[in-house]
Symmetry: D2
Subunit: 420 residues, 4 copies
Amino acid sequence: MSEPKRIDVEKYPFDTVVSLQGHLLDSNIFSQVLGTIYDLDGEIEIIDLKVGRTKEDISYASIRVFAKSNEELQHILEIIQKYGARSPDFEEVELSPAPEDGVFPDGFYSTTHHKTYVRYKGEWLEVKNMEMDKGIMIKNGEASCIPLAKVKKGELFVVGTKGIRVKPPERPRRKGVFEFMTSSVSSERPVKVYAEAISEEMHKVKTKRGRIVIVAGPAVIHSGGREYLAELIKMGYVDALLAGNALAVHDLEAGIFGTSLGINLKTIQPTEGGHRHHLVTINEIRKIGSIKKAVDKGIVKDGIMYELITRNIPFILAGSIRDDGPLPEVITNTIEAQDKMREVLKNVDLVIMLASTLHSIAVGNMLPSWVKTICVDVNPAVVSKLMDRGTQQAIGVVSDVGAFLPLLVQNLKRYVKPEI
Amino acid sequence: MSEPKRIDVEKYPFDTVVSLQGHLLDSNIFSQVLGTIYDLDGEIEIIDLKVGRTKEDISYASIRVFAKSNEELQHILEIIQKYGARSPDFEEVELSPAPEDGVFPDGFYSTTHHKTYVRYKGEWLEVKNMEMDKGIMIKNGEASCIPLAKVKKGELFVVGTKGIRVKPPERPRRKGVFEFMTSSVSSERPVKVYAEAISEEMHKVKTKRGRIVIVAGPAVIHSGGREYLAELIKMGYVDALLAGNALAVHDLEAGIFGTSLGINLKTIQPTEGGHRHHLVTINEIRKIGSIKKAVDKGIVKDGIMYELITRNIPFILAGSIRDDGPLPEVITNTIEAQDKMREVLKNVDLVIMLASTLHSIAVGNMLPSWVKTICVDVNPAVVSKLMDRGTQQAIGVVSDVGAFLPLLVQNLKRYVKPEI
Amino acid sequence: MSEPKRIDVEKYPFDTVVSLQGHLLDSNIFSQVLGTIYDLDGEIEIIDLKVGRTKEDISYASIRVFAKSNEELQHILEIIQKYGARSPDFEEVELSPAPEDGVFPDGFYSTTHHKTYVRYKGEWLEVKNMEMDKGIMIKNGEASCIPLAKVKKGELFVVGTKGIRVKPPERPRRKGVFEFMTSSVSSERPVKVYAEAISEEMHKVKTKRGRIVIVAGPAVIHSGGREYLAELIKMGYVDALLAGNALAVHDLEAGIFGTSLGINLKTIQPTEGGHRHHLVTINEIRKIGSIKKAVDKGIVKDGIMYELITRNIPFILAGSIRDDGPLPEVITNTIEAQDKMREVLKNVDLVIMLASTLHSIAVGNMLPSWVKTICVDVNPAVVSKLMDRGTQQAIGVVSDVGAFLPLLVQNLKRYVKPEI
Amino acid sequence: MSEPKRIDVEKYPFDTVVSLQGHLLDSNIFSQVLGTIYDLDGEIEIIDLKVGRTKEDISYASIRVFAKSNEELQHILEIIQKYGARSPDFEEVELSPAPEDGVFPDGFYSTTHHKTYVRYKGEWLEVKNMEMDKGIMIKNGEASCIPLAKVKKGELFVVGTKGIRVKPPERPRRKGVFEFMTSSVSSERPVKVYAEAISEEMHKVKTKRGRIVIVAGPAVIHSGGREYLAELIKMGYVDALLAGNALAVHDLEAGIFGTSLGINLKTIQPTEGGHRHHLVTINEIRKIGSIKKAVDKGIVKDGIMYELITRNIPFILAGSIRDDGPLPEVITNTIEAQDKMREVLKNVDLVIMLASTLHSIAVGNMLPSWVKTICVDVNPAVVSKLMDRGTQQAIGVVSDVGAFLPLLVQNLKRYVKPEI
């Protein structure tokens, strides 16, 4: 080993020491931190590196980071703290009041979706309601993520990067379903095995009394998945449904007319003039007053909405500009719909996204990185987009949701019904 | 020619006579009417058929339609009236009052997006604000399309199918840009030629002082089309823009930081930490109060929103549940956003949809079948979906919008700037 | 009806009379003929039109076609004869000898894939081995389609368009599985219903002792369909398999190692180093001498190739430039492979294409328009491309082949095993 | 730091020491090696780790690997040697003769596409003609990659994993075009910037007298890219073309008739009957004898094939089972075509793949990991598939090739023509 070169401190006059700990080497964390510093035109000197000798041991590293300007140094620190790097001296977070309703203070800290702590009055507070691209409000000794639209004037938000510690997900030590399946998105994988593994995960979650939320697009109905999603609800595997007007309308149309956009779901024969069914369905429900009343009055006797309503399972139907009608339960204000969705997503353990781009992306944006997500869509581009959120807890299945759901239900039938 | 079989009137006891006129044979109308009747298990006898001998001549047909039940006969009549078939005796429309706000009367007529007339007090009224899947309200001697959400209790709506005449678009006699390009959607077509032809059409529309509306998704910015769409606005080819929060945010982020979701648009290098730009942009605009104020104060000096605002060109930003922020001008109520979009779409001559699925489908649903539409998207499935609206006035271009817009601008530069 | 305009014979000095017969009006044939003539800048006068009064009656039309030049007139005739239009006087076909091996004579007639007759020595000969884009050879009083590569010097081929009659498929009078399913390609259709209908069709074909050929790509294995395709073979529903090197290699790898490209098909866990399995499989089979010998020696004990070989069912493995190996049975000469494929496709009643673009397009090009085809692929663009061959006998299913095949097998199990 | 746990040598009785060197930490190599060992149920002890203190320094690591069985230990060693791990004692490679033509010896080493060395008679030989999934033959003191089909009985091939050293590509220290663009495949990137950067790279390669090979599919012609690819050839940026029958036929059809599959490339108007052009083109060229003769005789006067032939630039047209004709120059034997392609790819510096799946995958399989590749396709799935080859030297551009090529040519015009 030749004598290492020294950093040219005239070129790199600004420096600070940061520390890292965890399964640094096999978790990719160390290489990401070093790579980032180099990419941002910084330099490093490794001061100390204690490598855990075995799989179970924790490693520690102490690194001096050099930069050409203080601004660049701060930029580097901002980035690498996302990988868990922190200054050894524990600084307090800096706070600043929101200048008015709906506006963060200047220099606000924009969150990741990883577990985050802030150093406040000498203690590390875990940030609640973790979500990406939010601000961190400190109030009553608690730290929590707040979306821009909910900011109230005068409330205190974290600014800068001092006193913040982010704990990115590490490479799991033991391989479970989620670990070995989350490699690349591909349609060239045996869907049967996915259905098996996902059913296992669902059962495990329910056995531990965890919560499963389904996000579903209208293609669930068109592709013939209606009865199977209804079955999942009956079996107790659905704790909430997030969808739009279209899913509910198509589900109700199928219940009332046996068609979806006028296509007979049994024969695939277009019922000529059946497109009217769609609008008549909406009109009928509006006339009665709500989907719930239509179920209560026995107008709808099966299907997804029926099972949800008769079991008192919450559902959120969020409005969109392409909606016909809409149905009475649809929340036409998008900010209000987001709020309701957040409520339902609290403490969720598993989110299953079925053939829905808009709603899945909206939900994906609201989830912390440690919530397991499964995305099933026939379009690989949609699956890739949803998987690409920096979490190691996501499974993408490129498959026809109408063919996948029966397989899933069939697999779940192996288990004794979970207690609800 | 053997002696034709007679219809078995015991099997088909219900019949009526309908007439058709137009370029029946080469326009496919006749075969659609006959095919529909056969599909619906009806029978026909051709009573009279006067075929125009040359291209310019109009053909007339008189057909007796047979069905097994009166219900089936009515169903057949309902369908074939969409192709222009009508009973020779001119019946009046039947009207019924809306039972309450937001609800059509039972048996309401659900519209197509073709030109439609109703027989009211002995006259044919053309239905205004023609849109698919709406009701027809008669008020003050005028007929107009009304969406479900806008229905007021007691207003009179057309029910049944009597006294309604639909004029579907015929096969054009002379071949223009729109005619020869509207065959199948394919990525295997020379995009250069499309750009040329579309620029011609745009120039023609503006020369006649027509209106062009652009629908645009955020990929316009990511893919590098920002400056070219801005240029189209400067050149006077845009009369209104329909988009969402994301397009505006990305446009403004590009204006303020030179990035799109933190990706430098000049180098494609990810500006590490640049994802913050997105949220900072929204926060800044919210702090100032509106995009307009940000333009007025010189914070944004170029781009799409800048060109629209400084030229007083209307834009609608419709909210969605996946929005961050949103920006102050975003209309978060989807029903209100639809209303505003309808306003802007009145009397539009040409709609150009650029890389936007949600907004394009929403707009497509609001357009009558005779408005020319152009849809540019890199995903053939999106283009197909948008083209598949039963109009012969739609061009689908499967291309990268970032590569297509420069070609379009370049082609438009051949023309003298249109007077605005 | 106003007095129809007369054709300006000075502008259109060339004319001829053609006749049409069949279900002209509801089958779209008439509108296609007229539309084509107008598109090609011709004019028409309808001399006679006897419309069948009921569904069962045949219609007859006699039309005078006008054109500006003789060349244009010939061009029009060439096109409209594809829709069945013919000159009332039955002219003999014109023949010309091939100038050398592998070359058609100048002016050769290029075939459609519809049923075709040629007028030879006063009789109508049906053209055998009907295929698109071929020449028609007359030899020993028989007419047959010949691909370019098989032409022998001096053999007589049809030139021009005289004496040729094409019978395009008409709109079916009665609606069966194939008729109502063949509308548009969409992933938004219930795959279960397709599986049901296709199983019915397969059973019907086998009951009539018809032939079913499967075309399969390697994704059949990756996606977990191996055991189900093997089951189809066991059940007697496969009369031949057309595939490439990759399908066979993956099938054999699964048989020997339980992996596909090194991915364990039971756990989807990548067997590290498992990519070697692929090459080792090929090497082993090459060492033994053939797949057949490997089956005979008990090295491969299940799977697609095993079932084919033990049942003596023919298979063609056609080579491609992306092949590893290849396996001994692979035909590396593409012209030779085409010939073998043609042999296997003779008298086929139903072709099922499973997740294969290259092989499906190759097979599609070799099929006459009346052979029923089913195409299953997760990519809608592939399905569209294969459906877009001008036949009304094609069903496209946008679904994951690994999820579709179990459904198909399950449906076929309802039937008593067909006698083989 | 707590006292690290010791490895339980009773559970893990088999061990060996391996060493690593290079930019281990920021290049991800170390984490891959450790992750692999853990995944394969091994254990490690880090014996020594000398971390380079600055960006330029090399790191060294010495690790003891533990496994439960000797078989597992060998398997681990086989995998981690792909990441560069090697036993400190330099063992000789083991060799074994091929049992017969076209068959590797048992236990043959299957290559990666990374730079590979073998220890033979005390020296490290670099393996020539590096390609994935091949065997390594030692002959006359030279080591080279040999495809299965070329193996001759008795020749000596490397077996096992002893004495083999693989040098995977490291994370580049300095960021060039290829480095910052090769992240994820996305259609949401500014194509203009790609065109600029790729033109730079092409010019750089030609300035250094390097070689550029183009792989092109028929969509180059359909999408309007013909004249631009011809221009690239004229400008001296193309050293060879790899394509199939279809590209050449469409190019020649465009040259002779101005159409592509009968579609007029200037008007996009389908020339009715123009599909005949395709076959007539093939027939004409076959009649003349070759494309070259057609160019020499002046029948073809422009386009891709014309420019190649008049400039004596090599091209390989590889046959496929979906070919019509084919043209005389097409190599219908796929093994022979692969050989010819390998020849042309020798010493290539840059490969540009344009809208071709089959040919691009075939070429991708033949390239060592250090050859730079650019893939342009409108389908993101194709681009992903081609990028997913374990190299850091690949750029994927999701764009319409017909819109991309003009941009590329325009950018290249900035440079002085390279000397050819």
